[in-house]
């Protein structure tokens, strides 16, 4: 997939200016962006909120890191530690400074009627009433239904088939991808810091990446990543009405039946099959070749080559004993 930036960051900002109201650190080094522990470069700020990510923390290249006093021990010496009360809220506030438009899905003002721009897309078949944003790329022999909206900078590969009433934003889509009617791809995820008067939304600057041969059934919703991407691997098929939350990563050759739901930031291995209406909690790691029975509720990590079922999901043998 190409590297496309859907949300160009503001800045750079001096660190002390970014931290105004958050910390009394006075360093003025220029910070270019906020990224996850593993993606941050020496010009970025990052955040570290859970011991689960301590290996990433130890190896981060970030210039500075928002964290808590009991986690700062894992952060490299050369990384400036910024101790805050609420790491996620502080990260959201800083992300908002870099990306003041990414916490909501503002409509794309560059959308144009495809009649006016179809000459740019030579071998593409267009239905009716299609709107395309600036810099959208569509590969040869792809085909779009009607009432489709593809917002700026989306990349769509060749031989793709997009149904009707589909909206796509902030997404990079491979070749031979099938998206059936009514799917909403790249919408802002359900990420916010609760607050009594008014929740504080986490900017969603990530993308949705759909690799070659992916199929999405009708009325699926795929949220884009907040920081980092939502990814579906090659040749993975989703049935109708599946919900994929922000930052979920699904491997290749998976089969996901109807009405399955994935909560945020969960990682699914390759060759995984999931029965209808199963739910997978957030921040889990599901191994390769796992089979999850229909209607199951998965609340724990699952190792490779395991079959689970039930609510909460347990290995099949255990489920059958009960």
């Amino acid at each position: 997939m190409p590297e496309v930036i859907f949300f160009e960051p503001k800045g750079p900002f001096p660190l002390n200016e970014l931290l105004k109201d958050l910390s009394d650190r006075k360093e003025k080094i220029k910070i270019s962006n906020i990224k996850t522990l593993d993606k941050a470069t020496k010009n970025d700020i990052t955040f570290f909120n859970s011991v689960d990510y301590k290996e990433h923390a130890k190896n981060t290249s970030a210039a500075a890191c928002l964290t808590t006093s009991n986690l700062e021990q894992y952060i490299p010496k050369k990384c400036i530690k910024i101790i805050v009360k609420n790491v996620l809220l502080s990260a959201a506030q800083i992300s908002h400074k870099f990306h003041p438009q990414a916490h909501l899905d503002y409509p794309d003002k560059s959308l144009a009627d495809f009649h006016k721009i179809s000459s740019k897309y030579d071998s593409v078949t267009f239905g009716k009433n299609i709107f395309i944003g600036n810099n959208v790329k569509i590969g040869s022999k792809s085909s779009l239904g009607s009432n489709v909206i593809i917002e700026h900078d989306v990349h769509l590969g060749s031989n793709c088939l997009i149904g009707s009433n589909v909206t796509i934003r902030n997404s990079l889509i491979g070749n031979e991808v099938v998206i059936q009617d009514g799917c909403k791809i790249g919408v802002k995820g359900f990420g916010f810091i609760p607050s009594k008067e008014k929740n504080f939304r986490f900017p969603h600057i990530g993308s949705v990446i759909l690799n070659d041969n992916v199929e999405l059934g009708a009325n699926c919703t795929i949220d884009r990543g907040s920081i980092g991407d939502t990814i579906i691997g090659k040749n993975t098929f989703l049935d109708n009405q599946v919900h994929v939350a922000h930052n979920v990563k699904i491997g290749k050759n998976c089969m996901i039946a109807g009405q399955v739901g994935f909560a945020g930031s969960t990682t699914i291995g390759d060759n995984v099959s999931i029965g209808g209406q199963a739910g997978i909690s957030g921040h889990l790691k599901i191994g390769n070749n796992v089979k999850i029975g229909g209607g199951s509720g998965v609340v724990k990590n699952i190792p490779d080559n395991t079959t689970v079922m039930g609510y909460p999901a347990v290995p099949l043998r255990e489920f059958l004993k009960k």
Copy 2:
């Protein structure tokens, strides 16, 4: 929220004419409308079908009340009691006389292309291919995506953000409300009297009320009330693919994760959080500060400050013991 009548009642009708084929009561007093026990005025007829509502029955101001012989004892003396076999069917039939168009979602014939009327909405940002009905109000700085339909008399506050492929009817929407792509707001609910040859649909004359700062994720469906409204409180956020049935009332500051479903007429308190794919049965009362685990099936009322989980949902401690 302003008082807006989406379905102007026919009538008034003399009581004996309304009751033709239902009862041999001969009173000719004029009846203006059919309303719930608590909302009915001295010019209205009401209905009373379940002892759960006896407190409302005792205090009703209605001129007349459809009920059964074992419930009539709770109804005030001055209220004319009309004993019928099937209270809900009779109520539906009478409601149908007042509102012959409310049992289905007839398309709004007043819809106009926004190009022709956008001058009425000065500071509103419009996407493409938007249709707006008569008397729609949209507050300043609100923004609409593309392929959006807003039917007659809908009120939308200021600073709202409406996604693409959204339809809104019979709804009153506050300020800073976010509705993501593909939501269907104000549709007729699943209310009917079953009958072998042809079900009898209950008219849906209520509205959907979304208070300030509400957020709805992609592809949510919010049914309007049948008699009475469907209400979502301030600063309550719903994730993708949530289903809210008719007459549900959700409090403020709630967090409702993806694919949750609410059956009809249930009331949810303030500060409630509900995990993904949980289901809440109809006609329940869920207290304030309740936490409901993902995938749970709630079939009983839940008192304030309780955490529940499981199917059927039980207090967390009990669930963990099992």
Copy 3:
């Protein structure tokens, strides 16, 4: 319902040509199509993969049948038996020869703006931005919302009410049918032969048949049949966000609450009621007058007149004991 062929088969093909790479049978008889055991005529090829269908196998009229060595005993003498390793894959490959366009939802190139063709539909009420394909029939007094797409050859009866943002293809729809906003009807189902590099999609040449008085709530998805049809019986009502997979058959007078999901090829009797979020596995037979509790997971056949609940669903008495 009329007999309408949405996918005209290529061919006929000589049997030995159809079987190239699959079998060394040399018969050259002309084969017109691939059909199920019970629908195949003496000019068709069929397939037999599971002993559950042995009664259909014994009575098939097909000229030839794809099957395995341990099932061939059930097939009539005069039917040519073709022993293959993977019956479904071979059937998919042969189906693909007859129907090279049915394994995906290619957009209908015959779609026309309703303005240009509305004179053909005299007493039909049209909303805005509607596209209709060739040979679409719409009965008198039917009414369509806005942003509706009805693809070629669809039949829609009289007095139907179609909401907005609805797409309909490959469907035969009776009278007085109600389809609420956002439904996707007749989409290709989730049928494919998994394969590491690239799954092989089963052609979906069947239809969706909605009988008189059916109602579908908002954002439902109804897949068309692969071989054979997906059918919903008279006066059956579905609530919002219900998912009906390919080849499901639902009887008459059923009530299906919100977010229920049906996996492929399951048969539901008459007068069945199903609570919200219940899931029904594939290839099951649910009897008449069955009641299935909300949130249940049904994994076995259910006899007539039974109430079940739970996950997996068991008779109510048993569920309550637990």
